[in-house]
Symmetry: D2
Subunit: 105 residues, 4 copies
């Protein structure tokens, strides 16, 4: 089952800057060869359910190893059965933009 | 790794009442013997990472089988490494209530 | 416009225990007379859009005053136009439980 | 109070394609002159608390007018008091990318 996920992980009980933790998660996604796109409040990830969920788990394990005593993640998970999840992350954004271009003044 | 999760699944492209879908997910949680607590905008679930995530996946698979062409889930995932996740769902609520009782007029 | 909301606020850059912050938000909800229900990963709140959103804002302002340098909230917002949002937080949970009782073994 | 928000609105009880609804929300953001960035699972928005929340409300009102009987939104809200929220949506992504560039092989 293919999924498109939006993933945002929040370490608690650490200093205010979260950059080192976010960078570490990006490296895990790169290392696993997962298609992903960082935005200002999380990261879109696409792939097979098990692989994407394994990535999320590795991020939790890794951030605890880095010293975060407590983690809270927010995940949105999209699946569909009506047709292949053929639209990629980029396609989805492009699709809305194309429709928007017809209507925006 | 123990997790406390908040899970809310939304079927798209179906009728307005979501009750049959929510009931089905509750049955999956009961069947898997997972400790859980329904609230008005989702369900708290606690257990081992793999078991809880397997439950979430089974809900997606089952709701697609029931005819939902498209699903979007929201998941919050809490883990900690500073001490055993000994506090249960009920403990967490009780803990806040006890502190609140001391302060509320 | 009536809303049912699920609200979870996370202070960043503070110690690991979030209890004092959660208690403070509960006091704000009580003070504003908003119907609400705490669960293990957030709080359900119901009321008029403006009042509920004002409560959320007051929580952000108050937690910054308490010393949290950075806050991240998760909010789910439910509205409907097909009928009055007559179902309360308690009704919604009861409704699923009643259906579940018929089907659970 | 400045906020960075991630906003994802889900109409229930409508057909499977959500594009017309997403487009409509983008038009509201453009019309209000709010800085925003669409991604594959929501939209980042930045601005003053009241203005951003007014935009979210207008999206709910407009989508009900378009015929959606029921709506469920997910919102993440980030605020900070330690320094001006000077980092824009673009800055935040760029900041992580710059750190990543130093570490990725």
């Amino acid at each position: 089952m293919k999924v498109i996920v939006d993933f945002c992980i929040t370490p608690l009980g650490v200093e205010t800057s979260l950059t080192p933790y976010i960078v570490e998660c990006q490296l895990i996604l790169i290392d696993m060869g997962l298609s992903h796109q960082l935005h200002a409040y999380g990261t879109n990830i696409e792939g097979e359910w098990e692989v994407v969920m394994e990535a999320v788990k590795r991020c939790h394990v890794r951030l605890h190893e880095m010293g975060a005593p407590r983690l809270s993640s927010q995940l949105k998970i999209g699946t569909r059965s009506d047709r292949e999840q053929t639209k990629t992350i980029a396609d989805k954004v492009e699709h809305v933009r194309a429709h928007l271009a017809k209507q925006a003044p």
